[in-house]
């Protein structure tokens, strides 16, 4: 029971990170209908920026941890969203309205560029940051939840709430929903489509940046390859939850995180990814539009 609870806590934390990345995929997909393959690498860039910001602030002589965390969070979100904006502007916007495989290929190109840029500028070695937040709470018996895990879960919940509000209630959210329903019509009615799409990428990148920071805090080890695996898992999560649906992305992320953790905990760590992907395939066989996705009506 204690073991189960511990795995549950770990799984939910991991799932939160996947969920945050998956939201970026799902928002872009909802509007543009494209797989932003470079999104996983934006997350990796976010983790690196967070690492550099941490080291910079520590070297600067700051000691108050909450202040450092807040500054790092702010800097990481800001700088990573500039990356998101630039990528959209250079690699996706020129191809809007083109056929649908073209942006997929540029996305793969951008992913290669980001990985190699970070590898060249920061060297290929694995980077380790010693744990910054110590301690935790004891739950039932031996089960523990660390303060980092609490932070991750709290941050995810508040971000999710914030973004749900943003999409449901603000003018920007309305513009986004309009674009995802009918981009041409939205443009005719005065929605600035280019700006809306750019802001969608900025939001996705900011969330990915938070996920990167969380990864850094939780595991303390990053390298320039973390983007690919996390990106594939997060995209799997987005598809599992029904791509285009925000709560679906979060649900899918949690499911993938839980499946992975429990499989590694009870069966074999080697096959945890196989388990996650197999669940995806099985779910899609029976529910071709994911768990919370809408069934698309096809017309000739």
């Amino acid at each position: 029971m204690e073991y189960f609870l511990q795995q549950l806590v770990n799984g939910v934390t991991l799932g939160s990170i996947y969920g945050l990345i998956a939201i970026g995929y799902t928002m872009v997909y909802g509007i543009l209908g494209m797989i932003n393959f470079a999104h996983g690498d934006v997350y990796m860039v976010g983790a690196f920026i967070a690492l550099i910001a941490f080291l910079g602030l520590l070297a600067f002589g700051l000691t108050a941890l909450p202040l450092i965390l807040l500054l790092v969070l702010f800097a990481t979100m800001l700088l990573t969203s500039v990356w998101g904006w630039t990528i959209e502007r250079l690699a996706y916007r020129p191809l809007r309205g083109s056929f649908r495989l073209a942006p997929l290929i540029t996305a793969i190109g951008v992913s290669i560029v980001l990985q190699n840029f970070v590898q060249l500028s920061q060297e290929a070695r694995v980077k380790a940051l010693p744990p910054q937040i110590h301690g935790g709470l004891a739950l039932l018996g031996q089960t523990r939840i660390s303060f980092t895990q609490i932070l991750v879960i709290l941050a995810t919940v508040s971000l999710l709430a914030g973004f749900t509000y943003l999409i449901a209630r603000t003018p920007l959210g309305r513009a986004q929903r309009a674009c995802s329903q009918d981009m041409k019509m939205a443009a005719l009615l005065g929605v600035d489509v280019d700006r809306t799409i750019a802001l969608t990428f900025v939001m996705g990148a900011a969330l990915a940046a938070v996920a990167g920071l969380m990864h850094l805090l939780l595991y303390g080890v990053i390298d320039h390859y973390i983007g690919f695996v996390a990106g594939v898992k997060a995209f799997t999560a987005a598809v599992l939850g029904g791509i285009g649906s925000l709560p679906g992305a979060m649900l899918g992320g949690l499911l993938i995180g839980l499946i992975e953790t429990f499989w590694a905990g009870y069966f074999s760590a080697e096959y945890k990814d196989v388990a996650a992907f197999s669940v995806l395939i099985i779910v899609l066989i029976f529910m071709p539009s994911g768990l919370l996705g809408r069934q698309e009506i096809e017309k000739v």
Partner: protein, 460 residues
């Protein structure tokens, strides 16, 4: 971007006196300053601060000169573009124009035989050495893979992101068959092809109902599952160490060895290690040409026409009585089979295979070749393979850059970075691929090519 706006504001007033028509110079300067700020945000932390390991942990090392250079380049480039190149203000987000009409006829007509002749004569050219032969083999392998994937993506319109799985299945089938049963390459090759075709059907069944990007992610997941199984199933596949000592091919029974009974002795030639490479080159050329001929013929057969109909419109297809399930499965099986042939060839050429050769990047590369080649154009794919694989190899030989940037500059590190940039640039420049003309498989009065923008891309 509010910070960017504030900082950039003084620029136009300095450059352009107020009330004089909003000058282009002012606009260009302001725009370039904004872009320079973006570049500063992009490169500042990642390029300017390098994490260096110390004994006590990580420390930062600043390299602001690099950031300054990058920002200056962006500023200058953007300014020149704005001021000199983009004279009229182009509307943002201009959609890709429909591809121009068919390329000049004589050029394309001459290109195919010229490429074929070059490919045939390549090993015989006096300038060809071991290195160039290896590159030729590599290019042909990728051409063959891309032609195989083209059946699935270009003809049937099913987006497959896990094609490398079939390459892997082919390679491991050959390696295991050849090692455990001692069969020769020519027996194992068709067997590996059949096994891989079954793998294709295995993938095809669960994804029959999926469309578009759901299909893409499941094929990607399938590729990863195969790779993870290859890594973790030690007893069968050798795990991460792979399989070594795979039998080398022989010239229909004559091994490429020195001395009695070898290929050289039988033909009265002097023994040379190049013989085997030349033989391998012609084997892969033959395999590639078989793939080409097979797919070109298939397009004219009912099944090929059904594939293309499926790509254009699945619902219309079904209502016309085409069995979409069988059509999809044959596309997966045949595409997979060619991947399996290529994999067998890869295994026998390398003599060693490991899961590391079958990562997602390979799938992406093959797909990029197909799309850059023009999705469905056979000659375009061959050209794209030549450009991409040849380009990667060219980038390996950038030693002359050492003269420019100093001796401790390692150009080969920049290979993949430049490759990725080239991928983005080519795609933005020619979204429809390098060859954007198609030959319809049915025509009424006369044969003529149509622009690729008239061809559907399939929704899965």
């Amino acid at each position: 971007m509010s910070a960017g706006g504030d900082a950039a504001r003084p620029a136009p007033t300095q450059a352009a006196p107020p009330r004089v028509a909003p000058s282009r110079l002012g606009h260009a300067l302001r725009d370039a300053l904004l872009m320079a700020l973006v570049a500063l945000a992009l490169f500042g932390p990642l390029l300017g601060l390098k994490t260096v390991p110390l004994t006590t942990g990580l420390a930062l090392e600043s390299r602001w000169h690099l950031v300054a250079a990058a920002v200056a380049i962006v500023f200058a480039g953007r300014f020149l573009l704005r001021y000199l190149v983009w004279r009229a203000d182009r509307p943002a987000g201009t959609a890709a124009r429909p591809a121009a009409s068919a390329p000049r006829g004589w050029f394309v007509k001459a290109l195919t035989p010229a490429l074929l002749l070059t490919a045939l004569a390549w090993p015989l050219l006096p300038t060809t050495d071991r290195y160039l032969l290896d590159i030729g083999i590599l290019i042909l392998t990728y051409t063959m893979l891309a032609w195989g994937l083209n059946v699935v993506v270009g003809l049937a319109g099913l987006l497959d992101l896990g094609y490398v799985a079939f390459y892997a299945v082919g390679a491991y089938s050959y390696a295991l068959l050849a090692q455990h049963f001692g069969w020769s390459f020519w027996i194992c090759l068709p067997l590996a092809g059949i096994l891989t075709a079954f793998a294709g059907i295995l993938l095809g069944f669960p994804v029959l109902r999926l469309r578009g990007d759901y299909l893409a992610i499941v094929t990607l997941a399938f590729g990863e599952i195969i790779r993870l199984i290859l890594i973790n199933w030690y007893e069968f596949t050798g795990g991460p160490n792979g399989i070594s000592g795979i039998p080398r091919p022989s010239f229909f029974g004559l091994p490429f060895t020195a001395g009695e009974g070898g290929f050289a002795a039988a033909f009265g030639l002097e023994h040379s290690p190049l013989h085997r490479i030349v033989f391998l080159y012609y084997v892969v050329l033959a395999l590639a040409l078989v793939t080409l001929a097979f797919t070109v013929r298939l397009r004219r057969l009912p099944v090929g026409m059904a594939w293309e109909a499926l790509r254009e419109d699945e619902i219309a297809c079904r209502s016309l009585g085409i069995n979409t399930r069988n059509t999809k499965l044959t596309a997966f099986a045949i595409g997979a089979m060619f991947g399996g042939f290529a994999g067998s060839f890869f295994a026998t050429r390398q003599g060693f295979i490991s899961p590391e050769s079958f990562v997602f990047m390979e799938s992406a590369l093959i797909l990029a070749i197909v799309v850059l080649g023009g999705l469905g154009s056979q000659i375009g794919i061959a050209i794209a393979a030549l450009v991409m694989i040849g380009g990667i190899e060219l980038l390996r030989n950038l030693a002359w850059l050492k003269a420019v940037f100093g001796p401790d500059f390692d150009p080969s590190l920049y290979r993949m970075l430049l490759f990725g940039l080239a991928m983005v640039t080519i795609m933005v420049w020619k979204p429809r691929g390098l060859v954007s003309a198609r030959m319809p498989s049915i025509q009424l009065a006369q044969r003529k090519a149509v622009g690729a923008h008239l061809v559907g891309q399939g929704r899965g």
